[in-house]
Amino acid sequence: MGREKIREFARALGESAPCYFDVESARALGYPDLVAPPTFATVFTLQAGGQVIHDPELGLDYTRVVHGEQRFVQHRPIFAGDEITSTVSVESIRSAAGNDMITVKTQVHAIDGELVSTVYTLLVSRGVGDAS
């Protein structure tokens, strides 16, 4: 996790809070380096979700897939300098009103094994005939 990526992402959210841009401000809050915005994990979990959408065995038609819900559980913030891994799993699949609802869970670990955050993405695969 690089400082410039955190700054770029924060800037794209229209942020001006100093802890996203200035190392000393982040340290003043007790953090080791720049702190990432609460939704920063989307930068790498988006690709992780793509793994599920494009999995040939799951066989989703990605043109029918929409992002339904998103949840971040932050055990600790992500900091500049973190080296992390993401582990993707399909948490649940259910059908409702002709649509398939797939919850993808991504566990984000620091390189030392510490669980940093858990990210849940609900993908909705719209059934054929649903025009909405």
């Binding site: 939704t39 989307t42 949840r71 971040f72 559980v73 932050q74």
Partner: protein
């Protein structure tokens, strides 16, 4: 910058409301920063082909922006320990300098153990809710 104390809030406590604007430039900037280059966020022709009035805001840009009502109030984004939202309506962004705006309000709905509070957030565009069930759990000071 100090994190607010749990003693300063109560169920029903309202955070200072905020208004945010999205222009086409914001969508391009977010696409680049997030890596989400879904064409419906930057190509009006394709957006119309799939039934949208024009290009729409990335749901995750809306979600990432809306939480500022909480982080600006807290003064410390690291104190957001949970954040969730449901994407209910797209926000179309016209090709104008004004763009599209959302009004965001938030209030404390529950106090938890360990000085944590549940904050329910509302995001309205053109008098319609664009994010539903938008909830943050925050760690406050004693």
């Amino acid at each position: 910058m100090t994190v607010n104390s749990i003693s300063q809030v109560h169920v029903g406590f309202e955070l200072p409301p905020q208004e945010f604007v999205f222009t086409r430039a914001d969508l391009i900037r977010y696409a680049g920063a997030s890596g989400d280059f879904n064409i419906i966020h930057w190509n009006e022709r394709v957006a119309r082909e799939v039934g949208m009035p024009t290009v729409i805001v990335h749901g995750m840009l809306t979600m990432g922006t809306v939480i500022r009502i909480v982080t600006d109030w807290l003064g410390d984004p690291g104190k957001v320990i949970e954040y969730s939202a449901r994407f209910t309506r797209p926000i179309p962004v016209p090709d104008t300098d004004e763009g599209a705006s959302i009004k965001v309000t938030a209030k404390v709905t529950e106090l938890l153990k360990n000085n944590q509070a549940v904050i329910s957030i509302s995001a309205i565009h053109n008098e319609l809710t664009v994010l539903a069930k938008t909830t943050a759990i925050v760690q406050l000071a004693p």
